[in-house]
């Protein structure tokens, strides 16, 4: 019996662009990007195919910048429903090799294949077979990082497999000294641009330098996160590959980047109400209510971090849009500093089942609840824009535009 686990992290190459190219032979051999709205020449590049990347096009960057880099760039409108379907199809392919498949994002999935090796052969052979099946059945090329845990598999994929023609790399814990440690510190999973600045100030430039430090130094500076970084540098991770990791919902939130800066409370509240509607509709669809609401607003310059993100506890758990909206407005009025807003978000946390609720002498909760469920069923049958609040028809309203999108991108 093998003592070490064998974990794969499969990452799809230029996922959205690859799907578009596979579905349309006329795009073969051309530089293709999937981006915001080609007709409006707006939005950002969501995915660029390898040919487009060879011109220096990268995601995410503004579409106009990408078009300046590559004159013949073919811009394809995103089709999020199709990408989600393709992701599910890939999960199904993976599930024919192991039942332990954990989607990490739309284009990345973890597989624990420890128990499958006796049937399918050694990890290299299995990885190659999986890659081939994904290519033949979906037209997408995937890269596979192999490790004895999730963190090693992820770093094997990001730092090595993606850069190799074969698209497969096995990062072994015993050989980290020669493979992972010479890399710059920002290549360590969990180190972003801000963390990199802090680490550089501490004189840590390579992953090996962090690995050789005492974990106590990092813990003193960043608490538990410091220890996690040290463990990551040593390739230590005990977390299992959990297929049901996304089943347990802790909160429901929606966020929206606005097409322009909103300056007045009147305009911003229109969008906040629309977000409350969406959050509550999702909560109702899962028969859940929330007891804590959070609201966030940010300015157009994301680097300077203007805005706020605050939360408050509600008197009673709710999934009623107007009740949530009143609480959201209280938070907003208290913390908004009259600066321009470019992105807003509403989140409902501390979720409970919605089959028991506190009744109220002065409000007809039953009626509100029935009305909300009727509106939900109309939207489910005729589309999200089938029934709207009058305020959404104002110039600030985004509900109609959002009804055509999934996750902020066109369906």
């Amino acid at each position: 019996m093998q003592s070490k686990r064998i974990i794969f992290l499969a990452d799809m190459q230029s996922f959205y662009a690859s799907i578009e190219k596979a579905a349309n032979p006329s795009l073969q051999g051309k530089p293709v990007v999937v981006a915001g709205d080609p007709e409006r020449r707006s939005g950002v590049v969501l995915a660029a195919c390898p040919i487009a990347k060879s011109y220096g096009v990268a995601s995410p960057e503004a579409l106009w910048q990408a078009q300046q880099k590559c004159r013949d760039l073919v811009v394809v409108k995103p089709r999020m429903e199709m990408y989600i379907r393709a992701s599910l199809q890939i999960t199904r392919i993976f599930e024919s090799f192991t039942d332990l498949v954990e989607p990490y994002s739309i284009d990345e999935q973890f597989l624990d294949v420890t128990g499958s090796l006796s049937l399918f052969g050694d990890p290299w052979k299995l990885a190659e077979t999986i890659r081939e099946r994904v290519r033949l059945e979906t037209g997408v090329i995937c890269r596979i990082g192999i490790g004895e845990n999730k963190i090693l598999a992820k770093m094997a994929c990001d730092n090595f497999a993606k850069k190799q023609e074969k698209g497969i790399f096995w990062l072994e814990k015993e050989k980290l000294h020669d493979t992972l440690w010479p890399l710059p510190i920002e290549k360590l999973f969990g180190v972003g641009s801000r963390m990199k600045r802090h680490l550089h100030m501490m004189g840590i430039y390579r992953i090996g330098q962090m690995a050789e430090m005492s974990p106590a130094v990092l813990t003193r500076r960043w608490g538990v996160n410091g220890e996690v970084l040290w463990r990551t540098a040593h390739g230590l991770d005990d977390s299992p590959v959990s297929p049901k990791t996304h089943d347990l919902q802790k909160g429901i939130g929606h966020h929206m980047t606005l097409p322009r800066d909103y300056h007045t409370a009147r305009e911003i509240k229109v969008v906040l109400l629309e977000l409350c509607e969406e959050v509550c509709r999702r909560a109702r669809s899962k028969q859940l209510m929330g007891g804590v609401v959070s609201v966030g607003c940010r300015g157009a310059d994301f680097d300077t971090h203007t805005g706020f993100w605050r939360q408050m506890k509600l008197d009673d758990c709710t999934n009623d849009a107007m009740t949530l909206y009143k609480a959201v407005c209280r938070l907003f009025e208290r913390y908004w500093q009259h600066t321009p807003v470019r992105s807003v978000g509403v989140h409902l946390g501390q979720l409970t089942e919605d089959d028991v609720c506190q009744l109220d002498f002065f409000a007809d909760k039953e009626r509100q609840r029935s009305l909300a469920y009727v509106m939900d069923s109309i939207r489910a049958k005729y589309g999200n824009a089938a029934i709207l609040r009058a305020s959404s028809l104002l110039s600030a309203g985004q509900a109609q535009e959002r009804a055509r999108k999934i996750g902020g991108h066109y369906k």
Binding site: P25, E132, L136
Partner: protein, 127 residues
């Protein structure tokens, strides 16, 4: 670290490729006949018929040839099913039942490529 060069295309992968080829040719010959039936109402039906019949016959021949090769090597089709936007194919691989799930949109695109290839072959044959 294990040398990546050790990984080569295995027999299994070659058979998977052949399996897809078989499915694509099978779809193409049926699609060509379907299109022919639709075009039979058009005024230029006689001109279209020869081309589409030729294409369908070629695709069917290829389909049967590949199917026979697969069968000789222990691969047998056990059934196909359209599942929403997927096309699921069940087959038996040396005694084991397996499933391949293709994207219909990708299969359609691949069929287009096959037609292009066929046109190219015909052009070369007529030279």
């Amino acid at each position: 670290m294990i040398d990546k060069q050790q990984v080569t295309q295995t027999d299994n992968e070659r058979w998977l490729e052949l399996l897809r080829e078989c499915i694509l040719h099978g779809m193409l010959f049926k699609a060509a006949m379907w299109d022919l039936a639709l075009l039979s109402r058009q005024p230029l039906k006689i001109s279209y018929r020869a081309v589409l019949e030729d294409l369908s016959r070629w695709a069917e021949r290829e389909h049967n040839r590949i199917k026979a090769t697969l069968r000789q090597n222990g691969y047998e089709f056990a059934g196909t099913q359209k599942q929403g936007s997927f096309y699921a194919v069940r087959f038996r691989e040396r005694g084991y039942y397996r499933e391949a799930v293709y994207s219909i949109e990708v299969l359609r695109a691949e069929c287009q490529k096959l037609v292009d290839r066929w046109v190219e072959q015909r052009r070369e044959g007529s030279r």
